[in-house]
């Protein structure tokens, strides 16, 4: 799955016309926004909590190399094996190597966006290892052979009837639209898998450098199963997931669950600090952590864009985004969709590939308001648009991948013309006079300019300009 400017236009247009999708998204996003708002309104001074969360993440980012080394040191001291991967391919190869050494045939997975980023499932399957998603939403989209359409609620684009059809067809279960019954089907199927899987793969919500602790936030218990039942646990994390102190956890977790689902805390908040110790009767014998870069260190090198790495992956910006609500998650053709995806994807994949996503925004600013760590998403969108449309001749090397790739010569020329007209009063007066005179001849729609223009009418020039009106006002 790769972002593609041409397909994005087609997919987005198609999605806005898909009544079922719109209905499914409206229903779920409406509920989730209300829950998030209620959870924050129940707090005194919620904005202050966001500011503290922001400060914690910025502090951790400022000390990133030091904290990663400390994390590695603490984890290693207690027997957790740490691996570093510069690219998605390297990360996958590390997981495969562990699986082969342990003779793993079946992998069960908790929800992990990093493994979506590396396309781990497809990779392992290609090497003959069965992979099963255990989070219910992930399990649904895996059965449907689709990518997740939301980073927290992967099957948000589907309604119960669509899921009922899927379960009936793929699992051979009797058809039912009863959500409890469908959940029970998934429980039955996955139970057997937990019992026999040779490896559990999960993500990491927070990695605590101070103590060497991996924290997982979840509601279903699939994360606990994946980290308890199989003999090997592999946790995959982006390198930005490290935070300095244990005492940072209360604030970050308060913000994460409230922003993601409106819960004060998730059902399970699971802290892992070592593999099974001598005498313990369950838990994995081996615990591995794969720390993934995959473009993050280049994002990190820019003081402004670095804010992107503060993201907790709560999904609140998706839930409130007017664009996401209308086109859904699949149209982006990116692992990270919605507002955070629009700033993260072009930085990870390069502006040539994903620069068009920075334009898929109304810049309404709602995402920045709900962000639990106050990432200035609209500012970063503007910055990336600038990077994308700067003249390549200027050869600015500050932002490497794809700078200037989004520049459109016609657009640049129009702006140049605009600048000339507004610089010289004589030209300006001549041009506006011409426009007034030719008003009747101008097209009513700006169809040729952009898709945006296709839906809008051009304003009709006034018969007399403001200058003229003022000059001719009575008593002038």
């Amino acid at each position: 799955m790769k972002p593609d400017a041409g397909r994005f236009k087609v997919d987005a247009a198609r999605a806005t016309l898909n009544a079922t999708l719109r209905q499914n998204l409206n229903h779920t996003l409406g509920l989730i926004r209300a829950r998030r708002d209620a959870a924050f309104e129940a707090l005194t001074a919620p904005e202050e909590l966001q500011e503290i969360g922001q400060a914690i993440k910025q502090e951790s980012l400022a000390r990133l190399p030091e904290l990663l080394e400390r994390l590695e040191d603490r984890l290693t001291a207690r027997g957790i094996q740490v691996h570093w991967a510069e690219t998605a391919d390297e990360a996958n190869a590390i997981v495969l190597e562990i699986a082969r050494r342990r003779g793993v045939q079946l992998v069960v997975k908790g929800k992990t966006m990093v493994s979506e980023e590396t396309e781990l499932n497809r990779f392992l399957q290609r090497h003959g290892i069965e992979v099963l998603e255990a989070d219910l939403g992930e399990y649904i989209v895996q059965l449907a052979q689709q990518p997740p359409s939301h980073i927290v609620a992967p099957a948000i684009h589907m309604n119960r009837r669509e899921i009922a059809d899927l379960f009936h067809e793929k699992l051979g279960e009797p058809y039912t639209v009863d959500i409890e019954a469908m959940t029970a089907m998934a429980r039955r199927v996955l139970r057997e898998k937990f019992k026999t899987a040779g490896m559990g793969v999960t993500g990491v919500n927070f990695a605590i450098a101070e103590t060497g602790t991996l924290c997982l936030v979840e509601n279903e218990g699939n994360g606990r199963m994946c980290t308890t039942a199989p003999p090997v646990h592999v946790a995959m994390m982006g390198l930005e997931k490290v935070v300095a102190n244990l005492s940072d956890l209360p604030t970050l977790n308060r913000l994460l669950t409230r922003s993601a689902t409106g819960q004060a805390i998730s059902t399970y908040f699971n802290w892992i600090s070592s593999p099974r110790r001598r005498g313990e009767k369950d838990g994995p014998e081996e615990v591995h952590v794969v720390i993934l870069d995959n473009g993050r260190s280049s994002v990190y090198s820019d003081g402004e864009l670095r804010d992107t790495l503060a993201c907790l992956r709560c999904g609140a910006c998706l839930n409130i985004c007017p664009v996401y609500a209308r086109i859904g998650g699949h149209a982006y053709r990116a692992v990270y969709m919605g507002p955070i995806g629009k700033i993260l994807t072009p930085q990870l994949a390069g502006l040539e590939t994903a620069g068009h996503l920075t334009g898929a925004s109304t810049l309404c600013g709602a995402c920045a308001e709900v962000c639990p760590v106050k990432i200035p998403i609209p500012d970063l969108l503007l910055r990336l648009r600038q990077e994308g449309s700067q003249p390549t001749a200027a050869g600015r090397a500050l932002f490497g991948p794809g700078a200037g790739s989004q520049r459109k010569p016609a657009e640049a020329m129009l702006w140049k013309g605009w600048q000339v007209l507004h610089d010289r009063p004589a030209y300006y007066r001549a041009a506006t006079a011409l426009a007034r005179a030719a008003a009747a001849l101008l097209p009513r729609r700006a169809a040729s300019l952009s898709p945006w223009g296709r839906r809008r009418e051009l304003p009709v020039p006034a018969r007399a300009s403001l200058h003229a009106l003022l000059r001719n006002r009575p008593g002038a």
């Binding site: 779920t28 509920l31 502090e59 030091e66 959500i179």
Partner: protein, 219 residues
Amino acid sequence: MSARDNILNRLRIGARTAFAHPNATTAREAEWAAKQPPIGDPARRFLAEIGKVGTSYLRVPDWTAVPDAVTSWVREYGISSVMTGTTPALEPLREHLRAQGVDTRILAETAETQREEIFNTDCGITTARGAIADTGSLLLIPSAQEPRLLSLAMPVHIALLERANLFPTLADYLANNEFRNQPPTNLVLVSGASRTADIELTLTVGVHGPKVLLVALIG
């Protein structure tokens, strides 16, 4: 050069970028927490919070009253088999349950050797290290005596919690340095029965973990 060194070297260059960051976030967190509505009596708050997510509880005056409380649940939920760890403190409870004709098992070997038994028992019983009042969270620290699966694999989980071990907030628990000094293999905060909302955001209880969570508050 290894991937590790390449990554860290790139980050070290980036880390030089000047960055304004306030340092004392922990103090700010405490200040912020002090502004929140008071927690009041931790036990009352804890029970109110767990009630919100459908967790039932019984209050008992001391450990001697635990067996009767558990027996009443065994009847109410039609439990025919239970499993505990090897915790000596639970021996009176195990004896009582056996006397009541309940199939009472012990996870004494390993999860691998007792796998079928573990996944085919109705109810797991564990103690709790403590609980967090403001979020209604049990604080479980599984151990060699009380393995992790006891609070995870069975459809019903009964947790035995002493009132003296309630902490008003998570920050209060962390402040006692117990975790910091000796991080356990696994610590888990449990705030209800296993649940999902992945289909139409409709809350459904009992996905991969217990469908029913019961708490006996002792003291």
